[in-house]
Symmetry: C2
Subunit: 338 residues, 2 copies
């Protein structure tokens, strides 16, 4: 093997509020050969996702157990098999899975998916053809169920999930309004991705802007952020609206209780529905969605953008960018080239 040691980021402390550098511990351990049935994978690209913040909390009631203190931080990643004692994987295969924040991962093959770097660049398997894209696809189409002519609003619209939600809604014939956190991001949504309108929540009154851009009300709201933006959209629902609760990034670093949506009674007035979505429920339909979205990417209907940060040492800094909104497109950490 070309590297003698495996650099890793482990969870050193459970963060209170915003994650601090001291919540991580950078460690090294020697590489070993695979045991029977195991493969060794060199990690090439690591996905940075808001959900990771939740995995760091010691919460009993989540959809996945928390990362233990002293354990390698959990992360989706793509890599290349460098050694194998598992007949299903050969040296040189590219795979995606929960490989963790480290240079090398060991796996018994469970949860690994082979990916083809000739069909799409590897980072795309962490964005539009990965977990964020699947979240957008199933959350919007299965729960949001937009119809042609509907007005669809998405928050975190320039992010990995939101940008795909908006583009799929356009493909389905909806009018699409994105909410994002800078004039640059708003310009990107309208000019590059073809959104009908975009609202910069840092400089605009979201409820007033929605009244202007969605005069007939909002039929589908795909919520990635929670907080005040969710409350603003609740005041502008059309009758029978569908709200998809995908995340609440505005609340993840709270040290105080989550801000519940004070305007939730508009669900009653407008006979609307608010439904949570967890993408792993659709795991067995991943290939179906990947094929459809790969077709849209190939035909130019669906654009995918990754914001690639170089070097494992930049992991803590890149993680912070998720919450400051500094990234443009899906945030990916590049460790090595395929």
């Amino acid at each position: 093997m070309s590297t003698a040691v495996n650099h890793q980021y482990k969870l050193a402390a459970r963060p209170v509020g915003t994650v601090k550098a001291s919540d991580w511990k950078s460690t090294q351990e020697p590489l070993r050969d695979p045991a029977d049935g195991e493969v060794v994978i060199q990690v090439l690209y690591i996905s940075l996702d808001p959900a990771m913040r939740g995995w760091m909390n010691d919460s009993k009631a989540s959809y996945i157990p928390p990362v233990g203190l002293g354990e390698v931080m959990r992360a989706l990643a793509v890599g290349r098999v460098t050694a194998s004692k598992n007949p299903k994987f050969a040296v040189g295969d590219h795979v995606s899975g929960l490989l963790g924040v480290q240079d090398y991962a060991y796996s018994n093959g469970q949860g690994l998916t082979k990916v083809d770097p000739k069909l799409a660049p590897l980072p795309v398997y962490l964005s539009t053809l990965g977990m964020p894209g699947m979240t957008a696809y199933f959350g919007l189409l299965e729960v949001g169920q937009p119809k042609a002519g509907d007005t669809v609003v998405v928050s975190g619209a320039a992010g990995a999930v939101g940008s795909v939600v908006g583009q799929i809604a356009k493909i389905k014939g909806a009018r699409v309004i994105g909410i994002a956190g800078s004039a640059d991001k708003c310009r990107y949504l309208v000019e590059e991705l073809g959104f009908d309108a975009a609202i910069d929540y840092k400089s605009e009154d979201v409820a007033a802007a929605l009244a202007q851009h969605a005069p007939q009300g909002v039929n589908v709201y795909f919520d990635n952020v929670g907080g005040d933006i969710l409350d603003a959209v609740l005041t502008r629902l059309a009758r029978g609206a569908r709200i998809v609760i995908c995340g609440a990034i505005s609340q993840y670093n709270n040290t105080t209780p989550v801000k519940g949506p004070a305007n939730y009674l508009s669900l009653l007035v407008t006979r609307s529905t608010m439904t949570g979505i967890v993408v792993s429920d659709y795991y067995d339909r991943t290939i179906e969605a990947a094929m459809v979205m790969a077709g849209w990417i190939a035909s130019g209907k669906l654009k995918t953008r990754e914001d690639v940060i170089n070097g494992l040492d930049n992991f803590p800094k890149a993680f912070d960018m998720l919450f400051s909104g500094a990234n443009n497109g899906k945030l990916v950490l590049k460790l090595a080239t395929a």
Copy 2:
């Protein structure tokens, strides 16, 4: 006519927080003969409903316009036709409709429904066979969709809607837990109505009691109260739970913003749904539901209880009882005997 004047309660001021006596104005006006197409109805029983509090606010975005200042307070009621120039109604007919808080109402017949005092006592047409019963029936069966073996939780369980929700859920084979505000009410739910368990939210920790009574989690929650109880139930949802948002009586007298459900992200973790219901959407199915429920009442499966207060002069006091929880069963004001 037997009475020369019509006593009325009008809305004198828009209440701030809890309704005060000075928000009402008691007035009298002489009776007149019906115009062409009109009927005069002597009001016999007036329904007191939490929704009336919402009608008093000058809110733009509700499902029904507010009551205007100086107008007779809107209320559902049953009465008897005392004069008619409308061929569809004869003197002596009993009718239900939005007759208002007054001794006599004039109507062109729109929105009036004939009721038969031989089939059920008149107050039952304001409770189980009226708006609260319809709300329970359609909210539970159409939105909550309980299956046999499900755990169904209802708040405001001893009230006009909640008591019917719980009994229908039992009829459908669910395990039913009621949340109510006194030991007496809890006893009534379990001993008289056959609920499997009841939680007194004034003396018990609701989340802890739910953990005990619903160890597999809550499949359906029918919410009449909002606030802390909604938040407690959100921590105990089973996967794929359905929350029916019917009302939020704990929040109706707020002078501060409504308390949004801080635990709403459990919708995400449990892949659950929160949906608002407005009973008027099911208006064209009223007869269907009334026939089914009348059958259950006749066979003893569905018990109905009305708390009858005598005299129009007691309207302000009876209205307050809605929010203090002092009533036992559907609160009805009796003006005269049929």
